[in-house]
Symmetry: C2
Subunit: 708 residues, 2 copies
Amino acid sequence: MIRSRRINRNIGWLVVLLLLVNKTHADDGYRLWLKYDLIKDVAKREEYARSFQFIAVSNQSPILMNAAQELQVGLQGLLGKSVPIITDLGKKTGGVYLNEHQGFSNHIKYGDEGYMMSKSGNIFILANKGVGVLYGTFALLRHIQTGQLLTKLPYNSIPKIRYRLLNHWDNTNGTIERGYAGGTLWKWYELPATVDPRYHDYARANASIGINGTVVNNVNASARFLTDEYIQKVAALANVFRDYGIRVYLSVYFPAPKTIGGLKTADPLDPDVRKWWTDKTKEIYKAIPDFGGFLVKANSEGEPGPQDYGRTHADGANMLAEALAPYDGIVMWRAFVYKADPKADRFKAAHEEFTPLDGKFDKKVIVQVKNGPIDFQPREPFSPLFGNMPKTPLSMEFQITQEYTGFATHWVYEAPIFKECLESDTYINGKGSTVASVIDGSLHKYTMTAIAGVANTGSDRNWTGNPMAQANWYAYGRLAWDHTLSSEAIANEWVKMTLTSEPKAVKTITDLMLKSREIYVDYNTPIGLSRPWSGVHFAPEPWQEKSARPDWTAIYYHRADSIGLGFDRTATGSDALAQYRPEVQKQWNNPETCPLPYLLWFHHVPWTKKLSSGRTLWNELCTRFYTGADSVKWMQQQWAQVKPAIDPEIFADVTGRLATQHTEAIWWRDSWILYLQTYSKQPIPAPFQKPDRTLDDVKRLSEIYKLR
Amino acid sequence: MIRSRRINRNIGWLVVLLLLVNKTHADDGYRLWLKYDLIKDVAKREEYARSFQFIAVSNQSPILMNAAQELQVGLQGLLGKSVPIITDLGKKTGGVYLNEHQGFSNHIKYGDEGYMMSKSGNIFILANKGVGVLYGTFALLRHIQTGQLLTKLPYNSIPKIRYRLLNHWDNTNGTIERGYAGGTLWKWYELPATVDPRYHDYARANASIGINGTVVNNVNASARFLTDEYIQKVAALANVFRDYGIRVYLSVYFPAPKTIGGLKTADPLDPDVRKWWTDKTKEIYKAIPDFGGFLVKANSEGEPGPQDYGRTHADGANMLAEALAPYDGIVMWRAFVYKADPKADRFKAAHEEFTPLDGKFDKKVIVQVKNGPIDFQPREPFSPLFGNMPKTPLSMEFQITQEYTGFATHWVYEAPIFKECLESDTYINGKGSTVASVIDGSLHKYTMTAIAGVANTGSDRNWTGNPMAQANWYAYGRLAWDHTLSSEAIANEWVKMTLTSEPKAVKTITDLMLKSREIYVDYNTPIGLSRPWSGVHFAPEPWQEKSARPDWTAIYYHRADSIGLGFDRTATGSDALAQYRPEVQKQWNNPETCPLPYLLWFHHVPWTKKLSSGRTLWNELCTRFYTGADSVKWMQQQWAQVKPAIDPEIFADVTGRLATQHTEAIWWRDSWILYLQTYSKQPIPAPFQKPDRTLDDVKRLSEIYKLR
């Protein structure tokens, strides 16, 4: 349906209106960063065109043909030129040669996925395997999309991490746990017979940023996925993804041998159980020969697991590894565990449960660790597990979907969250032992390296709900490939590929993106606060005292009282800090020197304590909350300035979301301030105005979001 | 993202490929029946064009400008011609004049929504109100889209029913109860600041078929919608819909005065409760001046209601009517009630509860009755309530979404379901007292008439999941406007507007549509069977014996035993038949003469009983199940023949769904046959082959769909 734009209502009488319908195409966001809109600069277009007179392929494998066709489609759009695909390069020059050449000189260095790109007569994209050529092709397109000169070639690229996955927390009923962009992309009731063309575009988008695996179902897994019915459905997806270098993985329900296998137990040491998994795995590989493996959430938040039978996580993981032994598949076992114990510190749980198991996991097992010790908060210290399991490959689990960063209405560019963790120094082997060096295997010489991002995609036409959230999917993929890229560089290329190439607008939007996360933290959880949500993690509820579990209340985390605020995790408190190396402890264990962003993660600080900023805790909190909320106003103003450079539909969409974000930022500010004030008994410091509503008012507002 | 089509893998070496990218646009179904693709016949196009040299408007009200603009967009597409909108007709000829003329000669006859269309010099669309002009404009577009001659004008049209609504069973969390096309269209977290352009297209689509109201939230209602937060969100939708003649309605949660009002009771006779509703209604009208009113599910399937306080449905409805008294809004009170009593016959419940209340409802109240006495089964007798409440306006509730007709993978064209009910004769005032004559007010001179369809729309790009299900939305709207239209005529125009104008394909697809429902009934619930589902109403489970309620089991409905099958609703059984007029009873109360489609609705029939078909019950059942499932094969073959005439993406999509439908039809057949055989002890009659699986096999398959 053509979106007929409203015509101006203020037209005078007798004016003849001739609307130019259908001329301007509104951007519905579906194309993501693969827009391939015509380059406006004719000279530049012609210059590019000289080097793209043909696309030659070294063979016609599906993956190479996908690469060639992507390039063809891209060049058609960018240059407005039909470029033929040819299968015999001969002595022709002036084109592109997509060359899959198993065993070229740098084979070992480039591996299965790396590529070389050079220019001399032709542009050459050379790789050991087709998928490397595909990655190189997308890199070449990106090169043009971001307006770079072809003289800047050659370059080459090799991924730093081997398994680069999306984790979809998608349910069988079409919902997505923590999804804010519509329902699931996977049409389970229609598969395998109906294959939505969108699966193909999903694969293209992921391949373009180097993602090579996808876990299609929620970690709170349904056993359905291990039935023959569903294996066939998943296989239909795998058939689409395969030729984009993407392997399919499944989250598994640990007691499946009981629920669908009819066994009396799911004990991982029981021979029948082991045989069931072995047979089941064989069945899966028969349907999906390149199946990637299993992701497991066990003995975590009520999900069953090996501990139900007195066994360890290693026992459970190794059983699955045994089943996978004949195949090129892996087990990703999540370390997201904590017990419902009001006396314990959830912060410490994963380290306590998993470090004793180091060295006990099968070589096919990777332990998947969330970036922080709690749960994807807007800011967390890095998980103390990183570096502390030198004999066990650890993978990183980031959350791309904005569960705790404002759903689809708050603009939070997440690359700085990811980078902050990756660049944290564990000091495990001395200075420079970054989390990234753990994850990419360089520190402990892991042979298997992996990274996972909990997807923010859904059935919304623009994939991510908030158009700006596309950047988080993009940034995750780019960092998974190369974690040394800067947040700014990634933002810059994403904006150019997705929104506009107008230099001033690129600068303004990049700047907004880079500041967005800090602004969110300021009005949401400043100075190391965490988890003030209830229910679906939407509305503020720092006053929450009751929940299904004591460690699912807000007060468990912030520990506000008449004296002060914050969770004492030093030796006088839970001593969680002891899980870090002394160098790290030194950064954080002194409240006088602990950086403010982490202060309340580790210290219970008196309200009147003067902080390094020169303000008391109370005044610093107020300053953060108020300036954070005010900064959203600034975001709105900045965004308003880029209007001429942005598609009107996307501009209007983001404008609306920023208005909601501003309203909600003030709601967050008022909720925290009014609640904490009942403990601090302090006035709102000048120049800030006290909220024009009461604590009861904001509580009432939050209550709305708890109604069914 | 351009959906790059797979190129042929079988190309020979050395062949130069030049792909024509971007030339053929795949149809993603978004445009529905408002496609406006270029008419291929140049002569025809030119003939039309002579009559469309301009679009003149009598005023520039938003609704008239929407009409003019729709026509402009439509003509641009159909004729490839930019047609100017002018505001002064003067003496010009050769164009269209959209004329809103309050009080033209036939005012009373045409009312607010009817229109006249004529041609002499210009094409005139004349109506009392802008919305009538809008409807006429869509009719004119339909006229061209279906290839009719302009010489076939004049015609005029007046809706037979005043309130023509969609009911959305959409939840606050983004899911849709019984939705099979993705999540909700309404982005509650983003509203009111972000207004998805899709809302506009939703309004256009509905206006094009005459729908003038929409209940945006589930009848299992959240009290959220009565909070100021959500009223603002709903108002933002109303602002979009208003200029398409569509009013917004809300489902209300009866105990809202307690849950959000802080009152101690929701007793409808309590003065504070009445005041709360009055104040709340005032608040709503302040935000939405043309608010349509309330829809209520009360004391139904666990939803609270007035009976919780010893009051009647009338007490509850009249309280809301009182609150609406100052405004042009109505109460739609649902009659979908039944008690969890294994001894009772659910069939009788609504009649028993509601007929004693006839005459006790306020004049602003309409009682909304489902077409059948149970719950939207593939075939039901008409509800015995129709005609039996002469003093109370009754409205029809149809279900467009395919809860019991195969979700999004079974092709069931529903117009025959709707027509079958509307044309049923209640004999209330003698022969010809059809259900339609009850609903349209002609029988009992109701001043208020209404019809509701439970929507099948969702966030899927093509709105309805199965592209063929768009026809059900369309047919519902067309019948709501004029229930005398035939199923065939509606199918024919929908196919031409949506899929193809190639005559043979139109004929083939129309034929498929008309047969589809009977085929579904044959393999799903033949001869009057009903409700063999469990859980989410997907998998067959005729063996279901246990459920949260006794009347939510399958055996409650089919009553299979060693003697026979079916629910005795004659005087020897529940005597539900006594709720109908004698003439109706006469049709159904004799098992020898009761038409087979209704037989098991009213009779417990021995397995070996010879039916009017000449076959025993068992053999007739087998014949239906087998021929039904085989007919899906026939549907596949028919569909394959229209390939050249259909967009390839839509063709592939439907092809896939038909494959799934065939698989599932056999599953239904086998489930019923194998299960009933345990009672009938009869062999599968020749020429049918017995299922190649066991009852346990099909049970196991159904179990999969009960896993979380």
